[in-house]
């Protein structure tokens, strides 16, 4: 800044004249707008032609909070990326969102060896990419190789290294047979072959795989086999998809034949909640994701439809650090499970689209068991008894003390879901009543990521969730040699690390449904009842509000959306 401007800025200051006039002007403005708001027309008059038969054509204006960082669908960490990826690429298999069963898609059938280290997929022979090249076993191999290993020369990250851990290779005995081999048993690979959430294994053409990360920012070069193809991508603003001509291989389980009904879909990124709902009401949007809990009822009242699906995988959980004082005391962990009122959260924080967690696995995951009558109930008397027994005495400020140390429990959480903070605050209040001082640090993702680096030594509780519709997610998360989310070590008092490793590890060793249910039950028993390593809180949900002329938006097993079967009653 120049000296001149400084001297001018610090020049004489006029006395504010008639300051109340400024206030009055602002008041008039606010009152005027409030009047506008109050007299706002409710609902819409032209709801469009209603019909029960699907109508082809039209553009769906869709809104969500996230945006696609890059058009490359195999690389993603948010909902926009995974949802758009699901509509331009297809997977080997389709997981039924209701039953969790793995059903055919690009693979017509499959078998695996007894060790679950080799999976053979028999591919459809009529599938092509939107540039006309065929989809075959070579494509599967090239995709999986790059997905797992990345490509340093092209700047591509090993996006699938986690999902396909222990991947050795893909064999291609003939053009339509692909054999995927692993170092160790990986039962969850079958579900992984249908995976639709972040960093998904959607198939890209060989020409796309040869592109560098920089070249993949040109959406027209991203070629998939999906029901839609890219028209354009404006970072942070919108992604436009158009119908793929000649598409005829949507998952048989969806019961949809041929091309998508819609001509185009516009995914608008709208960060502001009030702008998303306002635009839906004014008709500028046909549907919007990321509907806030407080917006659900008003939108329903105005004639909009609310559809939702719980996020499959785990609930939002409190992972309890079993090697850090004071949560290394199993009595404290059990008291945290019992010490908070679930009904209070259900009544004051959640809507019908959400539910209180009755296990660490979401209800839609195979092998889920209900613990709401067992350890996941509100029982402050029992919690108090456990703490008394363990030698925690109530101090002057109502917080318990043992050996001169206060019962302070530090929680790290993410504020990306609106429900998180109020839910945690409700738990904080209840725990205070039984003498536990739960200290909340609920922050945006970058701060969470930074703080998480010292989770083992600094945080008693990490609150998060995991989107993966397979019970083996428990092994991935809590296995002491894998995610070890509860920091089970030799120091964890009263926890047998070897037992945890063994019980959770079994989940990867079978695909027999009955046996898997049994192993999943054993894993939940161990995590929840025996060692109290986690206190599940609530089941998050993806909520869409749409106009009544919109039909057929599908929530898949990971609660991502597919639009192949979606249509607009007015066909516009």
């Amino acid at each position: 800044m120049s000296e001149l401007s400084k001297s001018i800025e610090s020049a004489e200051k006029a006395k504010p004249k008639w300051p109340w006039a400024a206030g009055a002007a602002a008041l008039v403005l606010i009152a005027g707008v409030a009047w506008f708001g109050a007299t706002r027309a409710a609902g819409e008059d032209d709801a469009g032609a209603q019909s029960s038969e699907p109508v082809s054509g039209g553009t769906l204006e869709f809104a969500l909070i996230d945006y696609q960082r890059s058009p490359d669908p195999q690389w993603g960490t948010n909902y926009a990326e995974s949802t758009i990826g699901n509509n331009i690429t297809d997977k080997l298999t389709w997981q039924d969102p209701d039953t969790g069963e793995i059903t055919p898609w690009l693979a017509e059938s499959w078998e695996y060896n007894d060790d679950l280290t080799e999976f053979t997929f028999h591919l459809r022979d009529d599938v092509t990419f939107s540039d006309g090249t065929p989809f075959d076993s070579e494509v599967v191999k090239a995709n999986f190789d790059q997905y797992v290993h990345g490509d340093e020369a092209l700047g591509i990250n090993p996006n699938g290294a986690q999902l396909l851990s222990g991947y050795i290779e893909t064999l291609t005995p003939d053009p339509y047979t692909a054999v995927v081999r692993f170092e160790h048993p990986l039962a969850s690979f079958l579900q992984a072959s249908s995976f639709t959430a972040n960093a998904q294994p959607g198939f890209l053409s060989l020409s796309t795989l040869a592109l560098s990360a920089e070249e993949r920012t040109d959406p027209t070069k991203i070629i998939g086999t999906g029901p839609f193809v890219y028209e354009s991508w404006e970072e942070q603003v919108k992604t436009v998809l158009v119908k793929r001509e000649g598409y005829d291989w949507s998952p048989p389980a969806l019961g949809h034949d041929g091309e998508a009904y819609l001509d185009r879909i516009v995914f608008n990124t709208i960060p502001e909640a009030s702008v998303r709902t306002g635009s839906l009401v004014s008709g500028e949007l046909d549907a919007t994701l990321d509907v806030g809990t407080t917006d659900e009822q008003p939108l329903k009242d105005q004639g909009f439809e609310i559809i939702s699906r719980g996020v499959s995988g785990t609930s939002i959980f409190f992972n309890l650090n079993s090697s850090l004082f004071p949560t290394n005391d199993i009595a404290v962990r059990k008291a945290i499970q019992l010490g908070w009122n679930r009904e209070a959260i259900e009544d004051t924080v959640l809507t019908d689209s959400y539910s209180i967690a009755d296990s660490v696995l979401a209800p839609s995951v195979q092998g889920h068991a209900d613990y709401s009558d067992s350890v996941l109930r509100y029982d402050p008397d029992e919690a108090n008894r456990l703490l008394d027994e363990a030698g925690w005495t109530v101090g002057d400020d109502g917080i318990r003390v043992k050996d001169g140390k206060r019962l302070e429990v530090k929680l790290l959480g993410i504020n990306n879901l609106v429900v998180n903070k109020p839910a945690y605050e409700s738990i904080q209040q209840d725990l205070k009543a039984i003498g536990i001082d739960l200290q909340l640090t609920v922050v945006p993702i970058p701060d969470y990521t930074a703080a998480f680096a010292t989770a083992a030594t600094d945080w008693n509780v990490v609150a998060a969730n995991r989107s993966r519709n397979d019970p083996a997610v428990l092994n991935l998360l809590y296995g002491p040699t894998l995610g070890n989310a509860s920091y089970v070590t030799a120091d964890s008092t009263g926890v047998d690390a070897a037992e945890v490793t063994e019980v959770l590890g079994k989940l990867e060793t079978t695909l027999d449904p009955a046996l898997r249910d049994e192993y999943a039950k054993a894993a939940q028993d161990l995590l929840l009842e025996k060692y109290a390593l986690v206190s599940p809180v609530y089941n998050p949900s993806q909520v869409i509000a749409h106009a009544d002329y919109v039909h057929g938006i599908v929530f898949d097993a990971q609660s991502r959306n597919h639009f192949v079967d979606a249509w607009k009653g007015n066909g516009k």
């Binding site: 800044m1 120049s2 001149l4 401007s5 001018i8 800025e9 020049a11 004489e12 004249k17 006039a21 400024a22 206030g23 002007a25 403005l29 606010i30 707008v33 506008f36 708001g37 706002r40 027309a41 960082r69 890059s70 490359d72 960490t77 990345g150 340093e152 990250n157 090993p158 290294a161 986690q162 851990s165 972040n198 560098s212 920089e214 920012t217 970072e235 603003v237 919108k238 608008n268 502001e272 009030s274 702008v275 306002g278 004014s282 500028e284 993410i414 993702i445 970058p446 701060d447 969470y448 990521t449 930074a450 703080a451 998480f452 998060a464 969730n465 995991r466 989107s467 998360l477 995610g483």
Partner: protein, 316 residues
């Protein structure tokens, strides 16, 4: 004069370098690892170490910080800021891609703000009705007091959701520009109007106005012919300073109206610790800031004979 120009240019260059260095330091002082932000936050505990290392190496985050600094500085001097970590786009392309959108918004808002400010100042000065003058003079404080966020939402409620005159979001076509422009212009017009009103009042009381009046000039003639030009000089300076307000306001405006632009790009780049992108933006903003101030400093002596005289005396 030449020494004055060299001094000011040198200072501008220093500001740009300092901004580059400071952001680099800040980004590395932050506790998070930039490569961690490339993963789903809920998957952090299950990422194998070798995967993390491979990703870090992919972006050069595995090099010692000092090496990274000089590498980036070297490339930046050659105009190459590397590729955005998050999207893979070249930084220059990412920044230049959204720059026009922000420039149009800011320039338009600034022009509109200046227009509003002059309208306020001229009305307040020319009117003979005290109530009108007082009302108009109170407008600038009101304009500054309303947060951009609130005025944006209010304008949307009325003109987009209720009346449907303008689109509520996006950057398609001139119609989508109207509401953001007004939203951004309101707070920016405040300080300019305040200064103008003050200057107009002060100038009206100065000696040359009395002379003009004595010679028979009408009030209108005085305001248009003499006062307007003299009172405008300080407004030029504050316009340079206002650039900062514009950039800050554009972050919120672009977010509320879901427009593409530098403001939003910066916000996400910082949130995701996208080091190359943040540095590219910071250097661009610092350079524009320095350039505008430089231009104002250099133009000033041309407009103000008194300053020209001081400079001439200093160099003599």
């Amino acid at each position: 004069m030449l020494r004055y120009a060299a001094l000011k240019t040198g200072r501008a260059l220093f500001v740009v370098w300092a901004a580059f260095t400071l952001t680099f330091v800040l980004l590395f002082v932050l506790p998070a690892n930039p490569e961690d932000l490339l993963f789903d936050p809920t998957e952090l505990n299950t990422i194998p170490e070798e995967v993390r290392e491979q990703v870090a190496a992919n972006y050069g985050f595995d090099e010692p910080v000092v090496v990274q600094y000089f590498q980036r500085l070297g490339h930046a001097l050659a105009g190459d800021f590397g590729n955005s970590v998050q999207s893979g786009k070249p930084v220059t392309e990412a920044v230049l891609g959204v720059l026009p959108s922000t420039l149009i918004l800011s320039a338009g808002a600034l022009a509109l703000a200046a227009l509003i400010a002059y309208a306020i100042a001229l009305t307040a000065t020319s009117t003979r009705r005290p109530w009108l003058r007082n009302l108009v003079e109170s407008l600038p404080s009101a304009a500054v007091s309303v947060p951009v966020f609130l005025s944006g939402i209010l304008l949307l409620q009325v003109f987009a959701f209720r009346l449907g005159w303008f689109p509520a979001f996006g950057s398609d076509g001139p119609a989508s520009l109207v509401l953001p422009l007004v939203t951004l212009a309101i707070p920016v017009s405040g300080p300019i109007a305040q200064l103008l009103v003050r200057r107009f009042t002060a100038e009206l009381e100065s000696g040359y106005v009395t002379t003009s009046r004595a010679k028979g000039a009408t009030r209108d003639q005085i305001v248009k012919g003499d006062v307007f030009r003299n009172a405008s000089l300080p407004a030029l300076t504050i316009t340079g300073v206002t650039f900062g307000n514009l950039i800050a306001g554009s972050v919120i405006t672009e977010t509320v109206f879901a427009r593409e632009g530098i403001g939003r790009l910066t916000q996400t780049a910082i949130n995701t610790l996208d080091v190359p992108l943040v540095q590219g933006i910071v250097v661009l903003v610092a350079a524009s800031f320095a350039l505008i101030n430089l231009a104002v400093d250099l133009v000033y002596p041309l407009l103000d004979p008194r300053l020209r005289a001081t400079l001439a005396a200093a160099t003599a």
